[in-house]
């Protein structure tokens, strides 16, 4: 995998960030929109590995920060942390079509919220509120539900491919 793939993954995730903030803005449950871009990021960084995943995570995080009211670097930080964690387990787990994608996205969404809460608390942001909330459960639920479909779609369009033997 060369640097072209980093840009390709970044472009796809960036496009979904734009799509979910415009076209999908009215699809929400109690104000929570499906974070498809994040779900793609989860599989993308796990496929790319820690280093390349972190670069992708950082750039896409910055894109989110530009479009959000969040402090610049907020989403970038969270994406980099999650990318390094998921990238480090590249090739160490077998990813089946349903269970593991759901599990990966569930844990990643939880971590995203957790690191978001920690950062907002550190920077005394009023939006920090409570960590355990109905919003957390809804977001985990929606993202986990979408995980197998997104994973299958990414495989179908060859954004991620089955691993080569030497990677195991």
């Amino acid at each position: 995998m060369n640097s072209k793939s980093i840009w390709l993954h970044t472009l796809v995730i960036g496009s979904f960030i734009a799509i979910q903030s415009t076209l999908l803005k009215n699809i929400s449950i109690k104000g929570i929109t499906p974070d498809i871009a994040f779900v793609i990021l989860v599989f993308s960084v796990n496929y790319q590995g820690a280093f390349k995943g972190q670069i992708t995570g950082f750039i896409t995080g910055l894109l989110k920060d530009f479009l959000s009211v969040s402090p610049l670097g907020f989403h970038a930080f969270i994406h980099v942390v999650i990318a390094s964690m998921l990238g480090s387990i590249k090739g160490k787990i077998f990813i089946d079509p349903i269970l593991v994608p759901v599990l990966m996205v569930t844990v990643s969404t939880f971590l995203k919220r957790f690191f978001g809460f920690i950062l907002m608390s550190i920077f005394s942001h009023e939006s920090a509120g409570q960590f355990f909330s109905i919003a957390l459960l809804i977001e985990i639920g929606i993202n986990a539900f979408l995980a197998p479909f997104v994973y299958a779609l990414m495989k179908a369009v060859s954004l991620i491919r089955p691993r080569e033997r030497e990677e195991y």
């Binding site: 104000g31 942001h125 939006s127 509120g129």
Partner: protein, 284 residues
């Protein structure tokens, strides 16, 4: 002659029967005078019966052939009508959508003309891409005169309701923090009882606004459904803009004030057009 005589003699019973029958018949004919024998008519009747039979058979085959042709024609016409119906349905849908948009824009225009403040009409183009923050992105920026901390209102269901404030501006777009964001504070007042308080968003996942610092003495005077407006006190928000309606009142023992749950008058899920207010009064 001899042979006839011999035949009649031999069959005399039959011959007499025939003769008598014919005779009786003739007598009846002449006595009644109603029986008129028309051989041509009889022949025509018989033949027309045959003709009718042929005609019926011919008609049957003709109708069958015609039916097949008619069926094909009907099928074509049905397909054409179905297409026409689909076209009309599309036109009707477009018409309804245009009428709805027209009504909406007319409302917004009427509202825009009635506003006492100078304002910038904007369209909502996006929302926050993540779920950790609330942002509404509008299609006007510094180029159109939008500045940070300008109040944003909208017109829905006959109410001019508070949407939030501008928190970031770009050249062609701006970010608006909605009032239900936990970091958005608004000086509020009960419209009828005139008690003051501070409204603040309840955060992500909540569909209400919390109004605190309302005196406990107000408990008897505040009712469910009461309207809450901006007080205009030491605030960027002008006075008298609707925020929402009281939907729950609580009086915790550990505080000296009431806590009110306010349901916003603006339905944020179907927010399309907003107005950014400038500080100057509209002189028109």
């Amino acid at each position: 002659m001899g042979r006839i005589k011999a035949f009649l003699t031999q069959h005399k019973t039959g011959a007499s029967l025939s003769s008598l029958l014919i005779l009786s018949f003739l007598l009846m004919m002449f006595s009644t005078r109603t029986f008129v024998l028309k051989p041509k008519e009889i022949g025509m009747t018989v033949l027309s019966g045959v003709q009718m039979a042929f005609h019926t058979v011919g008609d049957f085959f003709k109708d069958t052939v015609n039916s097949i042709e008619e069926l094909q024609q009907l099928k074509t016409e049905y397909a054409a009508l179905q297409q026409e119906l689909f076209d009309y349905q599309t036109i009707e849908r477009d018409y309804l959508a245009l009428r709805h948009e027209n009504d909406l824009l007319k409302q917004q225009l009427d509202f825009s003309q009635s506003l006492s403040f100078l304002h910038i009409p904007c369209e909502v183009i996006a929302k926050d891409p993540g779920n950790l923050f609330h942002t509404i992105i509008i299609n006007k920026g510094t180029r159109d005169g939008v500045e940070k901390n300008m109040p944003v209102i909208a017109y829905q269901e006959g109410f001019q309701g508070l949407v939030g404030k501008v928190v970031e501006t770009g050249k062609i777009s701006s970010k608006v923090m909605p009032i239900f964001d936990a970091s958005c504070y608004v000086a509020a007042r009960m419209k009828d009882s005139r008690y003051d308080g501070l409204a603040c968003g309840a955060g992500i996942g909540s569909d209400y606004i919390l109004m605190s610092y309302v005196s406990k003495r107000a408990k008897e005077e505040i009712h469910f459904g009461d309207l809450v407006i901006t007080s205009g006190m030491d605030s960027i928000y002008p006075k008298g803009i609707f925020i929402g309606r009281v939907r729950n009142i609580s009086a915790p023992e550990w505080t000296t004030s009431l806590e009110l749950e306010i349901e916003p008058v603006i339905d944020f899920s179907r927010l399309e057009y907003v107005f950014v207010l400038k500080a100057e009064q509209n002189e028109q």
